[in-house]
């Protein structure tokens, strides 16, 4: 991958190391005694810190995942070139859109 993609991949990885760790800890804590929408929403409803953290999580993932997939597809399949890059850009936008939508969904 190009220098810019490499740095984006590694930088987003560092951001994810923090946000994913927080997410894992939250999951393990939150699933105790069953999980209900009420419990989730009580924590996320109008919680600006939550929204900020998870928006950051989503942006980092939307950068990190497609670049990673690009390597996998290029190395393990015959697909490469601009069409692959375009498809992954679409996937990135999809992750960003769905992820931000989900973050906002539990914030409102």
């Amino acid at each position: 991958m190009s220098g810019a993609l490499f740095i984006a991949q590694r930088a987003s990885a560092v951001v994810l190391a923090v946000t994913a760790a927080v997410h894992l800890a939250t999951i393990i804590y939150a699933v105790r005694g069953g999980l209900t929408a009420g419990e989730i929403l009580a924590r996320t409803h109008h919680n600006v810190w939550f929204l900020a953290l998870y928006a950051l999580f989503v942006v980092a993932v939307a950068i990190h995942a497609p670049i990673g997939l690009r390597n996998v597809v290029r190395e393990w399949t015959i697909w490469r070139g601009r069409s692959l890059d375009a498809a992954l850009a679409v996937f990135a936008v999809l992750l960003l859109a769905l992820g931000l939508r989900a973050s906002v969904a539990v914030f409102l």
């Binding site: 991958m1 190009s2 220098g3 810019a4 490499f6 740095i7 590694r10 390597n71 290029r74 190395e75 393990w76």
Partner: protein
């Protein structure tokens, strides 16, 4: 079959990429190396077997082959260690065009060495005096850690990414580039970093560490490649800021 069986069952690759394995039986001898086995087959059983060797004492790297799935120098590989059950499977180095049997075309390996700018570029106007390079300096130690590479191709054969990404420069070329990046006398640092960047450069390394595992000189191309990655990121950040 006990460990002390008197006969080795040896499968040797014959032909080119579309070849096949041929079986031979070779008497087990004390202190036998795999190179001894290949040589005995060629001299006593099948004179048409093609293979390479030179020094036969572990200095030149010419006898590198894949033995029971692992790339190594056959002159330094004791049969007793790699074939306790008496079976050997000998193949040419991977990821290089097979010329015949166990001999491969090293052209692409050395082309990538050139493409990675793996050669020293001196200052135009040579000083009358020697360059002073403290041996204990961080950069000289980094260069010294990789300088003993003799281009045997074992790491290139071992690297899975070379198989997946045909243009990947590979561990040996990148290791050499790193030693030169750390040579304070060298004048081509920027051009060399350009050469090792990009899709087929150091960023394609996924830290499998197969190169480091199999290098017969105990070099660590993985860490050299990591150094190149850091150097590239440092340069990119300095340019951006």
């Amino acid at each position: 079959m006990t460990a002390s069986s008197a006969t080795l069952f040896v499968e040797v690759w014959r032909g080119r990429a579309d070849g096949r394995f041929e079986s031979f039986r070779v008497p087990r001898r004390a202190n036998q190396t795999v190179l001894d086995v290949v040589t005995e087959i060629q001299r006593e059983q099948d004179a048409t077997l093609a293979y390479r060797f030179a020094c036969r004492v572990g200095m030149c790297g010419s006898c590198a082959m894949v033995v029971n799935g692992r790339p190594q120098w056959t002159c330094r590989t004791r049969v007793a260690q790699v074939a306790p059950a008496g079976t050997l499977r000998i193949e040419p180095l991977r990821h290089l065009t097979v010329i015949k049997d166990l001999a491969v075309d090293m052209t692409r390996f050395f082309d990538k060495w050139r493409d990675a700018k793996g050669s020293f570029v001196p200052a135009g106007e040579t000083d009358r005096d020697f360059a002073v390079v403290p041996p204990a300096s961080r950069q000289r130690q980094a260069a010294d850690a990789g300088i003993e590479c003799i281009g045997c191709g074992v790491c290139y054969s071992a690297c899975e990414v070379v198989g997946w990404e045909p243009d990947y420069l590979g561990p040996a070329a990148l290791n050499r580039a790193w030693t030169l990046v750390n040579d304070v006398r060298d004048q081509a640092r920027d051009a060399r970093l350009d050469a090792v960047a990009g899709t087929s450069g150091c960023q394609a390394c996924h830290t499998h560490m197969s190169c480091t595992t199999f290098c017969p000189k105990a070099l660590a191309p993985t860490y050299a490649i990591a150094g190149l990655k850091r150097a590239l990121v440092g340069r990119l950040l300095r340019r951006a800021l």
